[in-house]
């Protein structure tokens, strides 16, 4: 059993090692793709097991929980791992078209695979300190990917990204120390029981808030998101796609995990803060997007705004709301990564990501236009695409608890999202190119074109499938939310029946 939990982490590492050792040969990139396929296969197996058997746990080194490190997969973890593998594969293929020889020699594929491993590890671990380690694995490889290429704006964006994330890391680390200091354990399932025995429950809330800030920086919520718009538009498109899809989601995941499993002792306080954070994040993010005039910068600010929706689901803390958060997480990874990939193709054929400098894509690259419209409309919440259901569930959840204002905010932000997505459409796709050129996909070499379009089309298809046939996904999210709200199954899987 534990191998199904370990392999999604181990395979990207193995891939990274081989891809690095063969970095000078043309096989390095194919190793990355093959490794990603393998990861995907094992993630699917993991998912099927979790669907069949419920929460599963594996004790690393055969040391019993809570003493050794536990890997746990409940529905949420399993789906996050699966979606990570899907995104990983998509971006690995895309990278073959985009990444230069030089970047490969500097270890692009290794950095990328380790990033995927870090993300996967974060989703699967059932141990707080281990979560910190995976966060660091993810963080350092994101540093490397961010600056790979070394352009001035990458370095500049990198400085902000690195400094602000390091602050969050230190905060996280101190939080772990303090939490250990009052509970004496690091295992999440064990913590969920141990927090009940803490005498000073108020102190627990303080530490909870500390984690909230640490993860809040990672998740890019208001007012801690600055590093994201400062950096996400600078690296290679493959890199910003995988960042946009996955990195902030790990922060959201950590918030969801901690604030359902461990810190559910003072919901009135912590989740009220989260509700405010959610609302402000949605609004500031979307206004930021409305103020931008660059393809990738608009998309970057949108990430923030969308994170707000996910936090909203957590903050409301009802079955429907958490279900919405889970659905939103999954939908958003697929859609947002895809949009960044599309931005990359647009830049390659039209010459820039600055909207004022490009155009004509609708006329001369209709395929790209359609492929853009699918995730863009999905992000904007148009039915029947995936984003609609995500938004629908969250708005329903808000209305259900009579959160009129937050429901109104969520809807208004939806409108502004439409506005800023049409900004891209109305400037990059519809009008003629200012330089009079006709940006055509056929200008790209055949191999490159395939590398670009296959992942984009694949992710777009996924968006459509989730949109048109939402029932299985909704049911999944529902079960997942039920697991989150009642951690008994999680705790039992880790610690056994005796607890």
């Amino acid at each position: 059993m534990s191998w199904y939990l370990s392999l999604p982490i181990a395979i990207p590492f193995l891939t990274a090692i081989f891809a690095f050792l063969l970095r000078a040969s043309p096989y390095g990139r194919w190793i990355s793709v093959v490794g990603s396929v393998a990861s995907l296969i094992f993630s699917i197996m993991l998912m099927s097991i979790v669907l069949r058997e419920g929460v599963i746990a594996g004790q690393m080194g055969n040391w019993p929980a809570p003493f050794g490190i536990t890997l746990v997969a409940d529905l949420l973890s399993a789906v996050m791992v699966l979606i990570t593998a899907i995104t990983g594969l998509a971006v690995a293929i895309y990278s073959m078209g985009e990444v230069t020889k030089r970047m490969e020699q500097l270890g692009y594929h290794a950095l990328f695979q380790v990033l995927i491993a870090g993300v996967t590890g974060s989703f699967l671990t059932g141990d707080l300190f281990n979560l910190y380690v995976w966060f660091e694995v993810m963080l350092i490889s994101s540093f490397g990917l961010l600056i790979l290429g070394g352009r001035k704006e990458q370095i500049d964006g990198g400085i902000k990204y690195v400094t602000l994330n390091l602050i969050s890391t230190i905060l996280f680390l101190s939080g772990i120390g303090l939490l250990y200091g009052i509970t004496g354990t690091l295992n999440l399932a064990d913590l969920s029981l141990a927090v009940e025995d803490v005498e000073n429950q108020g102190l627990l809330t303080v530490i909870a808030v500390m984690f909230m800030i640490a993860f809040g920086v990672k998740a890019a919520v208001f007012p801690l998101f600055f590093w994201l718009p400062a950096a996400y538009h600078t690296p290679a498109f493959s890199v910003s796609a995988v960042f946009a899809g996955l990195l902030t989601k790990v922060g959201v995941y950590a918030l969801i995990r901690m604030f359902t499993l461990v810190f559910d002792h003072d919901i009135g306080f912590t989740h009220t803060i989260l509700l405010w954070v959610a609302g402000l994040t949605m609004v500031t993010g979307v206004l930021g997007a409305a103020a931008q005039s660059d393809f990738r910068k608009i998309l970057s600010f949108h990430i923030i705004s969308q994170i707000g929706y996910m936090i909203l689901g957590l903050a409301l803390f009802t079955p429907l709301a958490l279900m919405g958060a889970v659905f939103y997480l999954v939908h958003h990874i697929v859609v947002k990564a895809n949009l960044f990939l599309i931005a990359g193709v647009a830049e390659k054929i039209a010459g820039s990501t600055e909207l004022a400098k490009i155009g004509g894509l609708y006329k001369s690259a209709p395929l790209l236009a359609i492929l853009f419209l699918i995730p863009a409309f999905s992000l904007a919440g148009f039915p029947p695409l995936s984003g609609f259901w995500a938004k629908y569930i969250l708005v329903s959840a808000s209305l259900e608890v009579e959160g009129w204002i937050i429901a109104g905010v969520a809807l208004a932000v939806g409108l502004l999202t439409i506005y800023s997505m049409t900004k891209i459409w109305g400037q990059a796709f519809w009008p003629a190119h200012p330089d009079g050129i006709q940006p055509k996909l056929s200008h790209l070499p055949m191999f490159t074109r395939l590398c670009y379009l296959i992942p984009i089309a694949g992710l777009a298809t996924l968006t459509i499938i989730i949109g048109f046939f939402p029932e299985p996904f909704v049911q999944f999210a529902e079960r997942s939310a039920a697991q989150l709200l009642d951690p008994t199954a999680y705790v039992t899987a880790v610690l056994g029946e005796t607890q």
């Binding site: 540093f143 500049d156 400094t163 230190i170 101190s174 200091g181 005039s293």
Partner: protein, 121 residues
């Protein structure tokens, strides 16, 4: 000693934050070193302090003697130190590179990624 260390950690943190807020990113690096030390001390202290007695098992014994230091936080701190070193090394090189490419160490002047006159329309 725990109380005294708590206060010292507070001082370390305050100094680190002050340094991190400086214009010169080199000071940020100094602050980073200080605050990493502080975080390590937080973990170490949270595991409570035991004078002397490292957690070693003597030859022939099955377990360490009573009252040895808490081993777990030590392992955590060790991991954190090494990770912290990795992050620090990267940050230092990044700042070094920033100076050689951007020509400044003053974060206020680093405005390539987010240009000052950015068109807000």
């Amino acid at each position: 000693m725990e109380i005294l260390l708590s206060i010292t950690v507070g001082i370390l943190v305050a100094a680190a934050v002050y340094l991190m807020l400086a214009r010169n990113v080199l000071r940020f690096i100094f602050g980073l070193i200080l605050i990493s030390n502080a975080a390590n001390l937080v973990i170490f202290t949270s595991g409570r302090l035991t004078l002397g007695a490292p957690p070693l098992i003597a030859d022939g014994a099955l377990a360490p003697p009573e009252g040895v230091a808490n081993a777990l936080p030590q392992a955590l701190v060790l991991t954190a130190i090494v990770i912290g070193f990795g992050l620090f090394a990267f940050a230092l090189v990044l700042i070094f590179r920033a100076y050689t490419t951007l020509g400044t160490l003053y974060s206020d002047d680093m405005r390539i990624a987010e240009p000052r006159s950015e068109d807000a329309g």
